[in-house]
């Protein structure tokens, strides 16, 4: 884990003190709302439907147990006893009072956390693979690069007022679990032909109202040039990104309008200029700084363990529910005798991504005791214990079960991404959470869910796509149609390294018709798949969307809809 140095600590505390003064001046009337609003947004504070909302940054989705306990404490003391983990690996509180927010930010600073750059047209919290440092398919832990980017981008004076918000994600593994191709910049750690480790740089991806698959702007970038190259990309974007139209202001539009070759040429020219003529040395990180960061993410002292455990095997034999949870919620770890535990925040009946104070405390305790003091937040709105000895699985499962956190549905149909939607969000056009709950309830039979196999349903309550519906195997987009909620369904999206946007199947559905529609899609899949190994996504890629379209819109209905 990265720890603040004295500079970081002072900087964050000073920001809190400044904001405390700004809140006081707003309350006294010395600041108008027009003056205050950009200041609160710079501290991650929005005004939503029912109340203020605070978005807290969780850099690269990594927390220690003390931080998780503090998040739980904040939820209990100043909010409504829960927090909402988001698709950008952050946590949001839905009910804070303005007068309490300086104290909340102070409490965050006490555990080296903040809400800086979680809003506004700046470089947002850098995200990463939630299995970083643990995944077996990893070339290198992506978090030192993400931390370097965080330090470079925090309070960067040149990039405080970009044309639009800017999101960076980093992955160090072959399998892209960080959705890098849907980010403004995606960084993938790769080996070149000489066996050196460097970065593939992807640019211009994004979801939202204009979904675009990111394109590779550099196949291999030497590690020491990461900041200079990103600075070059940001400079070109900052100069030429459109400021005349909010909906065309993201870098993806610039890259599309310019063309990749032209955009790349400008970036390379700026990059060369930065390195060779002007401020180059300041953008080559001090090796001592890099060393300190890398040490902070050095692997924990893993025990040497056999890959099997007799007590675990006995429990697996005697406890089918435990065995099912292990089968579904564990991922192979790089170290023998260890595993990665995914804790589903998608129990049937609950909002995806919500965790109560008590649940956060349980996860913190488990992380401290069994996972080298680490927790991760995934973009899929689950929590991860990244470094667990297999022999500890029964104890962990029992504790999770007691806290309502032992749902065995990771990567299955109940493991749904859903944005807060119209139940909370001022931008939303339809509700997301009730749709997710209805689907999870309908497919609550775990045997049926396992028969269906891997399935990624992603739901957004508006065109802004916080619920990643464009890259869902089944994507659901909630809209307002004549004052009534209406849900469009897309098929065949893929969030991985083969990122693909889903295709819309046809006219939208009323809320009560969404579950039957999903059921028809599932039945169609089960009827046409070649075998159990052909997942839903593979089947869609093989046969195309037509059979699914026919299932949702039989010819008679199609004629009427037309």
């Amino acid at each position: 884990m990265y720890s603040y140095d004295e500079f970081d600590r002072t900087y964050v505390k000073d920001r809190v003190a400044t904001f405390r003064d700004q809140v006081a001046r707003r309350i006294s009337g010395a600041l108008t709302e027009d003056e205050f609003k950009p200041l609160r947004l710079q501290n991650g504070i929005y005004l939503q439907l029912h109340a203020y909302m605070l978005r807290v940054a969780i850099p690269y989705g990594t927390l220690n147990s003390a931080q998780m306990r503090q998040l739980a404490m904040i939820a209990e003391r100043w909010d409504k006893g829960y927090g909402h983990f988001t698709t950008r690996q952050n946590i949001q509180y839905n009910w804070p009072k303005l007068v309490d927010l300086p104290d909340i930010l102070d409490a965050l600073a006490d555990v080296e956390m903040h809400a800086i750059q979680t809003s506004g047209n700046c470089i947002r919290n850098v995200t990463a693979d939630h299995f970083a440092g643990a995944a077996k398919d990893e070339i290198e832990d992506p978090r030192p690069a993400a931390e370097l980017l965080r330090q470079w981008s925090t309070d960067h004076p040149e990039f405080a007022f970009l044309p639009r918000k800017f999101k960076i994600a980093v992955t160090g593994a072959e399998e892209d679990r960080a959705v890098t191709r849907a980010h403004d910049i995606g960084i993938q750690i790769v080996n070149n032909e000489a066996g050196e480790i460097g970065y593939k740089v992807i640019v211009g991806g994004g979801l939202g109202r204009t979904p675009v698959v990111g394109v590779t702007i550099r196949d291999f970038l030497p590690k020491e040039h990461l900041l200079a190259y990103c600075e070059a990309i940001l400079r070109v974007y900052n100069l030429h990104g459109r400021r005349d139209n909010k909906y065309k202001a993201r870098i993806k539009i610039l890259v599309m309008e310019e063309g990749l070759d032209s955009f790349r040429a400008q970036v390379e020219e700026e990059f060369a200029d930065l390195l060779e003529r002007h401020h180059g040395p300041s953008l080559i990180p001090d090796p001592a700084v890099v060393e300190r960061i890398e040490q902070a993410f050095a692997p924990p002292a893993f025990e040497t363990l056999p890959d099997t455990d007799d007590a675990l095997d006995a429990r697996l034999t005697n406890d089918p529910a435990f065995a099912e949870w292990c089968q579904v919620n564990l991922t192979e770890h790089r170290e023998p005798g260890h595993t990665i535990v995914s804790i589903s925040l998608k129990p049937v009946g609950e909002a995806p991504g919500d965790a109560s104070t008590a649940q956060m405390q349980v996860v913190a305790d488990l992380a401290e005791r069994y996972s080298h003091d680490e927790v991760r937040v995934s973009h899929e709105q689950n929590l991860i214990l990244p470094h667990v000895a297999k022999r500890d699985l029964p104890a962990i499962y029992d504790a999770l079960k007691g806290a309502g956190l032992a749902t065995a549905n990771i990567n299955l149909i109940g493991d749904i991404i859903a944005c807060p939607g119209l139940d909370y969000c001022a931008l939303a056009t339809a509700r997301s959470i009730p749709i997710a709950k209805d689907i999870a309830q309908h497919f609550a039979d775990s045997a049926y869910a396992r028969t269906i196999g891997e399935m990624k349903i992603k739901i957004s309550g508006c065109i802004n796509s916080c619920g990643h519906h464009h890259v869902g195997h089944i994507g659901i987009l909630g809209l307002d149609k004549g004052g009534k909620e209406n849900y469009q369904i897309t098929l065949g999206g893929d969030h991985t390294q083969d990122l693909q946007l889903g295709q819309r199947l046809g006219p939208g559905f009323d809320a009560e018709d969404v579950v039957p529609a999903i059921e028809r899609l599932v039945e169609t899949y089960l009827g046409l798949r070649q075998d159990k190994d052909e997942t839903f996504l593979k089947a869609v890629k093989r046969v195309g969307i037509q059979p699914f379209k026919d299932a949702l819109y039989p010819p008679k209905e199609s004629a009427r809809a037309a």
Binding site: E33, L47, H50, A51, K97, D423, I433, D480, G483
Partner: protein, 115 residues
């Protein structure tokens, strides 16, 4: 032929706590929707809101289209404003709906699950 103006009320969020408020008939901000001033005259409501601004600090002032129930209680028309008035539909324990003193009588007590 121009459409007849629809009844509206004025809503906002409390500066300090963030919760939903309505502009009352007496020209003060209130948590009670029953006491909200309703008019088809936008200018009249704006004038009332200007007077109320001295009594309580609010943010995000907006006009909200309503229908009037039999007893004269204004009810928001759009789902967005219904949810904003009551609270998240997935959590009946949260928001204004969790406070019985803020709940309405009659049909509105049924909740928003099927709005």
């Amino acid at each position: 032929m121009p459409k007849a103006p629809k009844p509206q009320l004025v809503s906002a969020n409390d500066l300090l706590e963030g919760h939903v408020l309505y502009l009352g008939r007496e020209g003060v901000w209130t948590t009670s929707r029953q006491q909200a001033a309703v008019s088809t005259d936008k200018d009249e409501l704006d004038a009332l809101a200007a007077k109320a601004s001295a009594t309580r600090q609010v943010v995000d002032v907006a006009h909200v289209e309503v229908t009037l129930e039999d007893g004269g209680t204004p009810r928001p028309v759009t789902l967005r404003e219904v949810i904003r008035d009551r609270g998240p539909t997935n959590r009946p324990d949260l928001g204004r709906q969790a406070d019985p003193t803020l709940l309405q009588t009659g049909s509105e007590a049924e909740g928003t699950a099927h709005v």
